[in-house]
């Protein structure tokens, strides 16, 4: 599938520094920094409204940040141009699943290949040989990804008819189709039972082993702790802790944020 990682460099894969974002009077993010290395699994946790999804939106170019810088693989991230961010190698899924519901499962993943596709308008209009060959290669790669996430049998169903768990898997396959170096998953385990969470954890680990770093937002603290190398905790738009799971989860500030002041 060609998602190999290039030789490891000392430079972190992602360096977000001092990110700030306001919506009118609401301070959604303030001075948030997050660094992660290639081949790592990083958790981003925090109470509802802590700014986790806003951070994802900044990371994927949907919102330009008001302050701070994001560097990805050593260069500045294109601001406000999601289609170029996709090209640099960041892909994501959504908290509320956002597939192309009227397309088939396979076509959804094929759209994900768009970012790595050459053939242009004229090729499509005149069906050149190069276009047809590329089209076959895209379909082949997409089928491989469906197999990878375990929904190959549903390739020709309309995406909107899949079960909830399979829609989540499809969203991951579609994101992987862009050949990301960083896969950002926004609450991938939401609404899943324990067995489904276990299987999803296995998939996330496999994605990491195949060379893609993973950044995930999640509420289930135990599940995150078992999966992640490092965890960053946000509360009211600020980073209140960062480090290895066992340290972070015992941090009094984190406990207070999750359980209320008195519990610490």
């Amino acid at each position: 599938m060609g998602r190999e990682q290039e030789a490891e460099k000392p430079v972190p894969l992602l360096e977000a520094h001092g990110i700030g974002k306001r919506f009118g009077g609401l301070r959604a993010l303030h001075e948030v920094s997050l660094t992660l290395d290639a081949g790592s699994i990083t958790g981003l946790i925090g109470p509802n409204g802590a700014g986790k999804t806003t951070f994802f939106n900044v990371l994927t170019g949907i919102y330009p940040p008001d302050a701070g810088t994001v560097r990805f693989a050593g260069s500045a991230l294109p601001v406000g141009e999601p289609h170029r961010v996709a090209k640099t190698g960041i892909a994501r899924t959504f908290q509320n699943i956002r597939l192309f519901p009227n397309m088939t499962v396979l076509e959804n993943v094929m759209v994900g290949r768009h970012v790595r596709t050459r053939a242009g308008v004229l090729g499509a209009l005149f069906q050149t040989r190069a276009t047809r060959e590329e089209e076959q290669a895209i379909a082949h790669a997409a089928q491989g990804l469906l197999d990878y996430v375990g929904i190959a049998a549903h390739a020709h169903r309309v995406a909107g008819t899949l079960s909830y768990g399979d829609q989540r898997r499809l969203e991951i396959a579609r994101a992987l189709a862009t050949e990301p170096r960083l896969l950002a998953l926004d609450e991938p385990a939401a609404g899943m039972n324990a067995a489904e969470r276990g299987a999803l954890g296995g998939l996330v680990r496999r994605i990491r082993e195949d060379g893609t770093a993973v950044l995930l937002i999640e509420h289930d603290v135990k599940w995150v702790a078992s999966l992640c190398d490092r965890i960053t905790v946000l509360d009211y738009g600020e980073r209140i802790a960062e480090g290895e799971p066992r340290h972070v989860l015992n941090d009094p500030a984190v406990v207070a944020a999750y359980l209320g002041q008195g519990a610490a």
Binding site: P82, K87, R98, F100, M103, V111, H114, A124, A177
Partner: protein
């Protein structure tokens, strides 16, 4: 029966033209939920550009076939450029404005295009040179003229080509992705600005061909001809289910046939009280009937909810 078959042939010819124009409306609506009311005037520009080039070249002694080919190519170039410019100037700056704003610019643009065309081509009727072969097929009194055959076949080829483009190519996938969820399409690396511009260009190309067909079929062109034609084609798109390509084709053909039947039978049905000049009434009666019984159009699905 003769009248029926003859009006069927006439209706399919007219319907093919409506369908080509309706595709332009429905593509733009499908991708950005905008009614491009200037589309009919793009057809008019294609028609007049094609007509004047053909008339000029015929005057220079060119053979009919090459003059028409050159006229179509020039109309294509003019309309594609115009479609691209319309999106860029009138709609892109309003992408985030309330839905009513681009509707107003569309109407304004339509007036501008008509007035500029009146300056360029004059306010009189322009006639298409009598160069097309008048051969025709006759079968039991039903006549299919050469031009009718060319219009129907060419329109079907173009429509089939468009369907293949949208359903079977990477470009078409990007268009459908943009229509279903532009924000997510961007995250997949789809340059949605480019896809939207391309949608206008493609629709305008079909409009150019339709425009030349109209002037060649009726032998006459006028700077206001885009209004009624655009309205009919829009009706066809709504009839078939706006946003649905197959629906635009079906709606266009159906509307053409209904109109032709209306024109053929209205005199008999009303004892000669109404003449065939009331044919437009039929088109809109059918629209009203379909919208009452099936508000999303014949092939339209329930309104898509945004996820």
């Amino acid at each position: 029966m003769d009248i029926f078959l003859q009006q069927l042939v006439n209706g399919l010819t007219l319907g093919s033209i409506y369908a080509l124009v309706a595709l332009g409306y429905t593509m733009v609506y499908g991708i950005m939920e905008l009614i491009n009311f200037a589309h009919g005037d793009v057809v008019m520009v294609g028609a007049l550009a094609g007509l004047s080039v053909i008339a000029f070249l015929v005057g220079q002694g060119w053979p009919a076939f090459w003059a028409v080919t050159a006229g179509v190519l020039l109309a294509l170039a003019a309309c594609m450029l115009l479609g691209w410019g319309i999106e860029r100037v009138a709609y892109r700056p309003l992408r985030k404005a309330p839905k009513l704003a681009p509707l107003i610019t569309a109407i304004g643009l339509s007036i501008v295009l008509q007035q500029v065309s009146a300056l360029l081509w004059g306010r009189g009727y322009l006639s298409f040179p009598a160069i097309l072969p008048t051969t025709s097929l006759s079968w039991n009194g039903v006549i299919l003229t050469g031009i009718q055959a060319v219009i129907i076949v060419l329109a079907l080829l173009l429509m089939a080509g468009l369907l293949v483009l949208v359903q079977r190519t990477s470009l078409g996938r990007a268009m459908r992705a943009t229509a279903q969820n532009p924000a997510v399409a961007q995250l997949m690396g789809v340059n949605t600005d480019r896809i939207i511009a391309l949608t206008f260009v493609l629709g305008s190309a079909l409009a150019a061909v339709a425009g030349v067909m109209v002037v060649a079929y009726y032998n006459v062109g006028h700077y206001t001809m885009g209004f009624m034609l655009g309205l009919k084609a829009f009706t066809a798109a709504v009839l078939g289910g706006i946003g649905n390509l197959a629906g635009a084709v079906l709606g266009g053909l159906l509307l053409g046939v209904v109109e032709a039947m209306g024109a053929g039978y209205i005199g008999d049905l009303t004892g000669g009280y109404f003449g065939s000049n009331y044919k437009d009434v039929f088109a809109f009666l059918v629209l009203i009937a379909v919208l009452v019984l099936h508000p999303n159009g014949l092939l339209g699905r329930r309104a898509r909810e945004k996820v």
